[in-house]
């Protein structure tokens, strides 16, 4: 059975393009142009994944509201924000609402597809009983590459998909300096340098909230970052 992806996006052209693209990749797509129709339709039947725009018509925060409602209906539903906004503040508040990842609208469709399929893979694995694990261990850090989950000293760290990929890219070869370009490649994103900087900053903060002495991600000015453990 094809998986259902719900797209809530107020721009008709983008909505149609994304829908076509996803259909071509074998997903069943349900597209909505505003929050009201989306809420009522999604309440009756939950999709397998939701792709939400933040600004919906005349509701600049409509996507956030919708995300809260969906999260209330299902804790496991993967949610991705797709937004024209790029201010840190919006992203942080979006992620607090429980989204699994976010992309700006200048992300390409392959990047979006990479996220969708990764999230579906994770959902599948979570349903199945733990079997063959693929785990990367670096000291206190443990990355479950199948479920896309990170733990630090056996405590789960709540990373978004992009953040998980970034941590994985760094921790795979401890001590090696990863420049911003290769980090972007590994995390399936194309953003400018300062966005990478703020991603790293956010990752550090998440680890530090669990362990105040966390200092495993080292900035190498002019080059990039490296994992020291």
């Amino acid at each position: 059975m094809a998986r259902t992806v719900a797209i809530v996006e107020d721009d008709a052209a983008i909505r149609a393009n994304y829908a076509d693209m996803l259909k071509k990749h074998g997903y069943e797509v349900r597209a909505y142009g505003d929050r009201k129709s989306a809420t009522s339709a999604l309440r009756t039947r939950l999709p397998d994944l939701a792709l939400l725009d933040i600004g919906l018509g005349d509701e600049p925060e409509g996507g956030f509201t919708l995300c809260r409602e969906l999260r209330a209906l299902s804790a496991a539903l993967p949610i991705i924000f797709l937004t024209a906004r790029d201010s840190d503040f919006d992203l942080v508040s979006g992620l607090r609402m429980g989204a699994d990842d976010y992309l700006t609208k200048d992300a390409s469709l392959p990047q979006l597809l990479a996220r969708i399929s990764a999230l579906f893979r994770r959902v599948d694995l979570l349903r199945e009983p733990p079997a063959a694990e693929e785990v990367l261990e670096r000291g206190a850090l443990k990355l479950d590459l199948k479920r896309l989950q990170a733990t630090w000293r056996a405590t789960p760290v709540d990373l978004t998909l992009t953040e998980f990929w970034l941590v994985h890219s760094l921790a795979r070869y401890p001590g090696h300096v990863k420049d911003r370009d290769s980090l972007m490649r590994d995390a399936h994103i194309v953003v400018d340098d300062s966005t990478i900087t703020s991603h790293i900053k956010r990752i550090r903060r998440k680890f530090q909230s669990l362990d105040g002495g966390f200092a495993a991600i080292d900035s190498v000015y002019g080059a990039g970052y490296r994992w020291t453990a």
């Binding site: 721009d11 393009n17 024209a84 400018d192 002019g222």
Partner: protein
């Protein structure tokens, strides 16, 4: 020629100088009246004596050499004025009698007390202009005056006369009046009464001195008051001008005016309206600063439409030659993307700066890390770092400091000519960490030098390669310098061979 407000007001005050002139004319008038009065009085005296003698013709029947009779003396003395001299001459030009003395007592000093000091002050000045009457003159009665004197001669003809003449030595002016003494139809003698003009003269002098003193005081007081007023006005205007000039600093920030902002007069109005204009300018600046960010945000959606459409198109079966156009469209899209990213960079940075925490870091360490990266990033361009061995501690964010250096270096590389290396230099001096990035190349355009650090100001000629130049790089430098409590400056090299960008941030211990 530049004439200051103060000088203009003083020039206008010169109009007040008419007042002494009016005073002078007035005093002249008084003098004329006084002299007229004196002449009238003399004439009356001469007439009274002539009348008295008319009734006593026997007194005039003198033989030469005989003394004047006592009665004659008595009449003359009683009728003559205190300071006059009276003499009588007969048809044979014989002097029949002479009474009185032209020299009187010195004129009294009766200056009004409040003006005394002032008049004394102006005396050196008036002494030059005024003829001071003197009692030291030759008061002899010359023979010629008796024999051929105009007044006496005229009176002997039967016509009363009066005239002014000088004393023999010319040091005093004498007024004389003559009146005939009739005996029947014949004139038997003439009475001549004389006085010096000294009394009138000293009254005139005193009046003139007082007028000069009073008007001079009035003039000086008025001029000083005007000067004080003008000085205050010009100092207020000067302050306003200085503030207005400094209101837009070298980095394009607009400050508010303080001078005269509460004053209720026209200068206050000027200051307030200037403040309003500056506020509008500041608003406009903010608008410009935000425009890039807003524009990039607004363009995102249509570009997403184009991108997703192109990606869908790629999945369609297309004719063989369509691939070329698809590739071109993609290239264009990528360029648009880069432009948008650049445009949004400053806005993202601004929002980042609002929440960024400051930490203590070593600027030297950051520079050393960065310099090796540049050699790789810009092959064919050499870099030279001159930084102290000891750490230079700053308070801020090392990431941002690095980003700032990136922008400075990118700027220097774009403008560098020849193969001279780009010099990056850090020195701690006077509590400031001075970072300079210097390159050989064209000088700064003069008109733009102070605006380079503003948003969307670029001095590049357009069309240089595929990298968009939006004039945001140095604006980002300024934002980050501000964040570190410092300032950014663009200068020409001293020998004019290139450009130096300078960022100074305060050092922390």
């Amino acid at each position: 020629m530049r004439v200051s407000l103060r000088a203009k007001v003083v020039l206008v005050a010169l109009v007040l100088a008419v007042i002494p002139l009016v005073g002078y004319v007035h005093v002249k008038q008084i003098e004329r009246l006084l002299r007229e009065g004196q002449e009238q009085a003399l004439r009356a005296t001469a007439r009274a004596i002539a009348m008295a003698l008319h009734d006593r013709p026997q007194l005039l029947a003198l033989r030469p050499g005989e003394a004047t009779s006592d009665e004659m003396q008595l009449i003359l003395k009683s009728l003559a004025r205190a300071e006059s001299r009276v003499w009588i001459v007969d048809q044979n030009q014989r002097l029949l009698a002479l009474v009185g003395d032209l020299k009187g007592r010195a004129p009294e000093d009766d200056r009004a007390a409040p003006l005394e000091f002032a008049t004394r002050l102006v005396q050196p000045l008036t002494a030059l202009l005024l003829d001071r009457p003197t009692e030291d003159f030759d008061d002899s009665l010359p023979e010629s005056e008796i024999a051929n004197g105009a007044t006496a001669a005229s009176a002997l003809q039967g016509v009363p006369a009066r005239r002014l003449r000088s004393s023999v030595d010319g040091r005093a002016t004498i007024v004389s009046a003559a009146y005939p003494i009739w005996s029947g139809e014949q004139v038997i003698a003439a009475v001549v009464a004389e006085e010096t003009t000294n009394a009138a003269r000293s009254v005139y002098n005193r009046a003139l001195e007082q007028v000069v003193a009073v008007t001079l005081i009035a003039f000086l007081a008025g001029a000083l008051a005007l000067l004080a007023f003008a000085s205050r006005l010009s100092s207020r205007l000067g302050r306003l001008r200085d503030e207005a000039e400094a209101a837009i600093d070298s980095q394009g920030r607009v400050r508010k005016l303080i001078a005269g902002s509460a004053a209720g007069d026209e200068i206050g109005d000027l200051s307030r309206s200037f403040s309003t204009i500056l506020e509008r300018l500041a608003e406009y600046n903010r608008y410009l600063e935000n425009m890039a960010g807003r524009l990039s945000h607004e363009l995102r959606t249509p570009i997403a439409v184009v991108r997703s459409s192109l990606e869908n198109l790629r999945l369609q079966p297309l004719p063989a030659d369509a691939g070329v156009y698809l590739t071109r469209a993609n290239d264009g899209l990528q360029r648009l993307d880069r432009i948008l990213t650049r445009m949004g960079e400053a806005t993202r940075l601004e929002s980042l700066l609002r929440s960024q925490a400051r930490e203590r870091f070593d600027a030297c360490g950051v520079l050393r890390g960065m310099i090796s990266g540049y050699a790789a990033a810009y092959p064919g361009r050499r870099f030279e770092l001159d930084a102290p061995e000891a750490p230079v501690w700053l308070r801020g964010a090392p990431d941002l400091y690095a980003q700032m250096l990136d922008k400075l270096v990118a700027n220097a590389v774009d403008f560098a000519t020849g193969d001279e290396p780009i010099r990056i230099r850090l020195e701690g001096r006077g509590g400031l960490a001075m970072l300079t990035v210097s390159n050989r190349g064209p000088r700064l355009p003069e008109a733009m030098a102070s605006k380079l650090f503003e948003s969307m100001v670029s001095v590049r000629t357009t069309g240089s390669g595929s990298e968009p130049h939006l004039g945001l790089g140095l604006y980002i430098v300024r934002l980050i310098a501000d964040f570190h409590g410092g300032s950014a400056q663009a200068l020409d090299r001293e020998d004019g061979s290139g450009v130096v960008m300078k960022v100074s941030c305060p050092v922390v211990i």
